[in-house]
């Protein structure tokens, strides 16, 4: 049983005490296959990931760009499903009881798994938060309430289109942290100007005391460092997933993948270096 409340809260408190922002790394669970994906997750904290965001693959990821679309399909083709994703979290928790894991994805696989069963199983596996892209506040009570009841934080998304009229309502049911989607667009495409991100973070702060993580379009250690100066965490997804894609092509039938692991973890270390030195 890896159920433990408050991993996200504890992690952000520690980051604040250290005086630095966190690095949130996204990969799709099961990409390019279960074994390699599990090996990546296991080593992410040592490489410098402060929070692990794990994608639940879906056939129709309508808010994602080409990199994460492709990663979803690779995972599904390799046989990934919700049971396996939760099993991967459970295995991770055998060695790490501190690094928060946030599941990200789309509603339908959860809805079909069964919302109550899912939130219970996810909490027991050691999941700390949920980011569900296609369930906005207008619809989220059916998922947010069971999640909160199971001790899972429901992370609300804010975007450049969330104006001051809408922000209070967005903050109302938020827990864990606020995810600021820094561009109006899909993952892995445009990058936002740091000044506009700083303005947005200041705007959100007026309505919430929760930590603010910023994602979308952060591709380099330099960009991650810039975000780390103005927000509580920087989220990097497509750029990491692209490193997996580049190496997966060379993989062939081999299940042994030291190159892939080294490349991914090496890149994550560079990102972490950027985030950790940003404010010094």
């Amino acid at each position: 049983m890896s159920r433990r409340e408050g991993r996200l809260k504890a992690r952000f408190e520690n980051l604040a005490a250290e005086g630095r922002a966190g690095l949130v790394t996204f990969i799709t669970a099961g990409d390019p296959n279960r074994d390699i994906s599990s090996a990546i997750i296991k080593d992410l904290p040592d490489a410098g990931a402060d929070i692990i965001e794990l994608g639940m693959p879906f056939t129709d990821p309508m808010a994602d760009g080409p990199a994460i679309q492709a990663s979803s399909l690779r995972a599904l083709e390799a046989g990934q499903n919700m049971n396996v994703t939760l099993e991967m979290v459970r295995s991770f928790r055998e060695n790490d009881d501190d690094t928060p894991i946030v599941l990200m994805g789309y509603y339908n696989p959860i809805y079909i798994y069964g919302v109550d069963r899912f939130t219970e199983d996810a909490a027991n596996a050691g999941v700390d938060g949920l980011i569900i892209v296609d369930v906005p506040p207008e619809e989220d009570a059916e998922l947010r309430d069971p999640a909160n009841k199971a001790g899972i934080d429901f992370v609300r998304l804010t975007t450049p289109t969330s104006d001051e009229k809408r922000l209070p309502a967005l903050m109302g049911g938020a827990s864990g942290f606020i995810y600021y989607v820094s561009i109006a667009g899909i993952t892995g495409t445009k990058s936002a100007a740091t000044t506009s991100v700083a303005d947005a973070v200041a705007r959100i702060r007026k309505f919430s005391d929760l930590p603010i993580a910023v994602g979308f379009g952060i591709k380099t250690p330099e960009q991650a460092a810039e975000i780390a100066r103005v927000a509580d965490a920087a989220v990097v997804g497509s750029a990491i997933v692209q490193v997996i894609a580049d190496n997966a092509e060379k993989l062939g039938d081999s299940q042994d993948s030291p190159d892939l692991l080294d490349s991914v973890l090496g890149f994550v270390s560079e990102l972490a270096q950027g985030v950790r030195t940003a404010r010094s």
């Binding site: 879906f58 056939t59 129709d60 990821p61 309508m62 808010a63 760009g65 679309q69 599904l76 499903n81 919700m82 789309y106 509603y107 339908n108 696989p109 959860i110 809805y111 079909i112 798994y113 892209v133 296609d134 369930v135 906005p136 506040p137 207008e138 619809e139 059916e142 609300r156 998304l157 804010t158 975007t159 450049p160 289109t161 969330s162 104006d163 809408r166 967005l170 989607v181 109006a184 667009g185 899909i186 495409t189 445009k190």
Partner: protein, 408 residues
């Protein structure tokens, strides 16, 4: 209120509720980035509906540009051939651009203009909605981008060329199976990336609220005309209505005005492709289950993990693994009978109608025709049956030739 009620509603025309729900179906399952935009579309639409000037402008275009009302035609030879019900066709294939789709695109482009949007995007399967969108964009001088799956581009070449002639950019979609579902994903990705200047004209009664209700309201003129025309022709209401259903816009357009007329039996015909038991079909209601996709909760074709599965139909316009959310509710409530028809049955009906009536139907209404062929012989001669001839078949002659083994 998110639970479906077992008791029969006082009216089948009272939904959606203010949040866009038809019982447990419908809703607004979109990314946060789109929420303010969708709320602004809803607000603008509510204002437009209440504005007589908006309706007057739409009426002018419906009459003089599209050619409404479309005729209600007594298909004598088909009726005689089938020896049963008196069969009428609602001739929406005679609309400008050859299908019912333009009823909706005209309404939505007037709304987009009202909202000050300059760029229009759309998804299309068979290309009928794409052509109808490109047409109104040409009419009003607006930029038009149409997303179309590459599989559909291959089988609907005439419509692709028509869209390009009309000045639209047709973007091939290679993700997934390259059909309507993937085109809709890509259109949503475009919209989320261009929220300021772009309006998304969804072509069917699916997507996030307010689209299912709005598209229905732009299409319900079909049934309203039928009511008047049938009163004029026969002095009474029809006994049954039949329409094909992909997303379900022509079907709800015909049905809506009759939903509370309990004596009117209603059939919606889903594409059974190669047969429900082969797994290669597009019959979301007959063989799918409730799920969440493209902004609404509705019946979907999906596997046990909630992954969306590929639809199959000879008709590109029905080749979609979901269905409009109001249809899911009408299905559960039992008001509408949803019936599957296979590719082969549709092809046979296509040929029958062409030879007997001199009307080449699109493959989509050929599914409805096939069901008419099945039930008409079992019905009395005074049974009044109305089938929505929602599109003409010129676009499909190459597909039909190939299916019949004829090389052109």
């Amino acid at each position: 209120m998110t639970t479906s009620s077992d008791k029969k509603p006082n009216s089948f025309k009272a939904l959606p509720d203010k949040d866009g729900h038809f019982g447990i179906y419908g809703g607004r399952y979109v990314a946060e980035t789109l929420m303010p935009l969708i709320l602004s579309v809803e607000k603008a639409y509510d204002e437009a509906r209440a504005d007589p000037a908006f309706q007057a402008e739409l009426d002018e275009y419906l009459k003089h540009y599209i050619g409404r009302p479309s005729p209600l035609y007594h298909a004598k030879r088909l009726s005689e051939h089938l020896r049963g019900a008196k069969i009428y066709f609602k001739r929406d294939e005679l609309n400008h651009t050859g299908a019912h789709k333009i009823n909706n695109t005209m309404g939505q482009i007037l709304l987009a203009r009202r909202m000050g949007k300059e760029r229009i995007i759309a998804e299309t399967g068979a290309g009928q909605h794409g052509v109808a969108t490109a047409t109104v964009c040409a009419l009003f001088g607006m930029q038009c981008v149409v997303y179309m799956g590459e599989t559909d581009i291959a089988r609907q070449a005439p419509n692709v060329f028509r869209m390009k002639l009309l000045g639209a950019e047709v973007v091939p979609v290679t993700s997934g199976s390259g059909t309507l579902k993937d085109a809709m994903n890509e259109a949503l990705r475009d919209w989320v990336s261009n929220v300021d200047d772009t309006y998304y004209i969804i072509g069917t009664v699916a997507g996030p609220h307010p689209y299912p209700a709005m598209v229905r309201n732009f299409q319900k003129i079909i049934g309203e005309e039928v009511r008047q025309q049938m009163m004029d022709a026969e002095g009474r209401l029809p006994d049954s209505l039949v329409a094909c259903i992909g997303g379900g816009s022509n079907a709800i357009g015909l049905f809506y005005d009759f939903l509370d007329d309990e004596d009117v039996t209603i059939y919606a015909i889903e594409a059974a492709g190669k047969g429900i038991d082969t797994g290669e079909h597009a019959a979301s209601l007959s063989a799918g289950g409730p799920g969440v996709l493209h902004g609404n909760r509705t019946y979907l074709l999906q596997d046990e993990d909630g992954q969306i599965t590929e639809a199959h139909s000879i008709s590109a316009g029905l080749d979609y693994p979901g269905i409009g959310s109001e249809h899911s509710w009408l299905h559960d409530s039992g008001r509408v009978n949803y019936v599957p028809i296979t590719d082969d049955e549709a092809l046979e009906a296509f040929q029958l109608c062409t030879r007997l009536e001199g009307i080449i139907p699109a493959l989509e209404p050929s599914h409805a025709l096939a069901h008419v062929s099945k039930i008409a012989p079992t019905l009395p001669n005074d049974h009044l049956l109305v089938m929505n001839m929602c599109g003409r078949g010129d676009k499909d002659v190459f597909t039909v030739a190939e299916a019949l083994g004829v090389s052109l």
